[in-house]
Symmetry: C2
Subunit: 430 residues, 2 copies
Amino acid sequence: MTTPFRIALAGLGTVGGGVVKLLDANRALIERRAGREIRIVAVSARDRTRDRGVDLSRFDWVDDAATLSSRTDIDAVVELIGGADGPALTLARATLARGCAFVTANKAMIAHHGLELAQTAETSGAALKYEAAVAGGIPVIKGLREGAAANEIARVYGILNGTCNYILTTMESEGRDFADVLADAQALGFAETDPSFDIDGIDAAHKLSILASLCFGTAIDFPAVTVSGIRNVIAADITEAAALGYRVRLIGLGEADGHGLFQRVHPCLVPLGHPLAHVAGSLNAVVAEGNFVGRLLFEGRGAGEGPTASAVVADLIDVARGETGPAFAMPVSALAKSSPAPAGDRRGRAYLRFTVADRPGVLAEITAAMRDAGVSIESMVQRGADTAGRVLLVMVTHVCPERAVTDALDRLDGSQSITGRPMLMHILDI
Amino acid sequence: MTTPFRIALAGLGTVGGGVVKLLDANRALIERRAGREIRIVAVSARDRTRDRGVDLSRFDWVDDAATLSSRTDIDAVVELIGGADGPALTLARATLARGCAFVTANKAMIAHHGLELAQTAETSGAALKYEAAVAGGIPVIKGLREGAAANEIARVYGILNGTCNYILTTMESEGRDFADVLADAQALGFAETDPSFDIDGIDAAHKLSILASLCFGTAIDFPAVTVSGIRNVIAADITEAAALGYRVRLIGLGEADGHGLFQRVHPCLVPLGHPLAHVAGSLNAVVAEGNFVGRLLFEGRGAGEGPTASAVVADLIDVARGETGPAFAMPVSALAKSSPAPAGDRRGRAYLRFTVADRPGVLAEITAAMRDAGVSIESMVQRGADTAGRVLLVMVTHVCPERAVTDALDRLDGSQSITGRPMLMHILDI
């Protein structure tokens, strides 16, 4: 096939600009691997005048991205606008309904609407590809959907948000506080002006719900993901975790067993012996456990112009070569509906950090609540008031049902002994 | 497509047995993902009577594997016999020439004959798949050939042999000598009765040559791989490396730049800050550096029944779904011939360990040879005679051309000051 594979780009932000640059820089190589040239025919974005560092005059400029879906001179639409709904979703629905291939980096849209879009794609015979939506340039979608396809996967988990990982690892390496490092991250472009999506774990939750579907053969269920971000992690948590032999990471974890589908994004203590403890800065990493392959780890740059563009173009090369398998590894009708597995039954160890009043009876009250809830304490540290006059009490529980820990915290709710909210982190004993 | 995808298995050793078990254990899941049942129709091996722990009576038994290539009742032949030549190659040639898909775990055969087989496959339109040939269950062939397809890859390297990695990491964790750990490894099944292929680096070299072709778009050139194994690594090397902040690993490294294709398997000192320093036991890991994606790491179980079977069946699922792209990412005619890049020009730091005579003048002689060859010494340790009465001299050089180090060693060749062969390991400053 020597006719060019023609594409339209919707969205010319960081990633859109990166795709243009990549197709220019690696043109000949991509043509050898795709078997044909991949050629941008049209582009669409909100601001025509912004300088993106690439020559866009070669392409048709389209003001309304929605019109791209009805063009007959293209083989694929690449959506890099973002946002679960709005113009991205409109474009996705129309493009796929028309039978045209659709390649996206939009994790929010896939998390919320991926099933519907996959069904549309299946009905029309179009390809729906979204490697760039999870873990940036790391080919984890392909790796799990195809490379691990022979396995029953019991668990998938990882570091799915580079902003959070950058913040946590910088807090650790430089001994600084959260707000301080967040401000720097924003200045350096590792975090948005409104960083909530990232630091509150929503972005990681989008990605986890996609990975869970692929790994477990279940329909995406984003609303069922339990989400806690890193907003309340303080420098002392990082230090105490290190003293205990752990690093703090925001981990997205999915498990499927007889009890239903478990999905959670939460700050965790990762043992130094675990590969994820060594994934630093803005890197991402995904671990899957298959019943024949054992544990697989994929690690790399999870965001940014180059890595995301790399994933987008890898998808384009696949489509150009005629590789158009089902978006979620099997027909939508074969994806199992799942019921969320309750966290309460889960057993594990917890890290708890209380900010306490410096007066008699505090330790007695807290340890009594633990006892009454059936939580046995493995270790405990109180170091005396810090430079800010705060007294922190840090505990690690023995393995116990998570509901017991929740129960203990409920018993302490409203206690005069405790200032602010206790910090709970799960210990990743896997 | 609801007709079964029918396969014949040639070879019923560890991996062959594993494929049968996997297809039984994950039958329903594989059918959902492949879109059709994957069904073994015929099997062939040398010993019909051996108990492999699976019921083979369901399948046609064939004594002569070569006849499998002409069966019209199969869609793919799976070759798990091994060996670069002999029955595996005969079967590969005949199967592909007939236009029948061929899935293999045979790294030696692909390293030696992969180009020819890919050409045959291209001519007949058959699929040639070999994910199981490199890094066991880790989907690194797919990950690099497809996931990283949009990148110009400058470098690929990793831990490609689980036997060597198990031995080196056990020497480290238990402070034991090579011969001792090798004997244990053989008893545990991590090393063969004749372990040369593994410990002399040949197996790693096969795999490196395959990865290099995929990453650099060059024709496989196995004979051009420079190979040194771990046979001469002693406990003191491991200890000294650790004291310097490194772990010893057998690393296969490929680079392509204006100077040609560089391929080498060699024991290396890996800095503790590098992910490969934390890949322990019999795990494998592959790192690639792409010009847009940056650094990618794939890690997992590189050998064994389960992981290798997982890779074989992942290939079968691809073929069953009609995914039959070119074996080396592009038509054979598009693969560039390469000239081997000379190692002498390479610049880097070296670890040198001399076993020396305990008498005057030894240090003077060795340091003079370094000086005369233009090698500047970064650090040096001589600890006095060990319990075996040996005196070891350990050096780390500053960055210098590799030929300077070779020159220094040539100058010392035959010296009365040195017992046995000096150990040279390259320091992985990447």
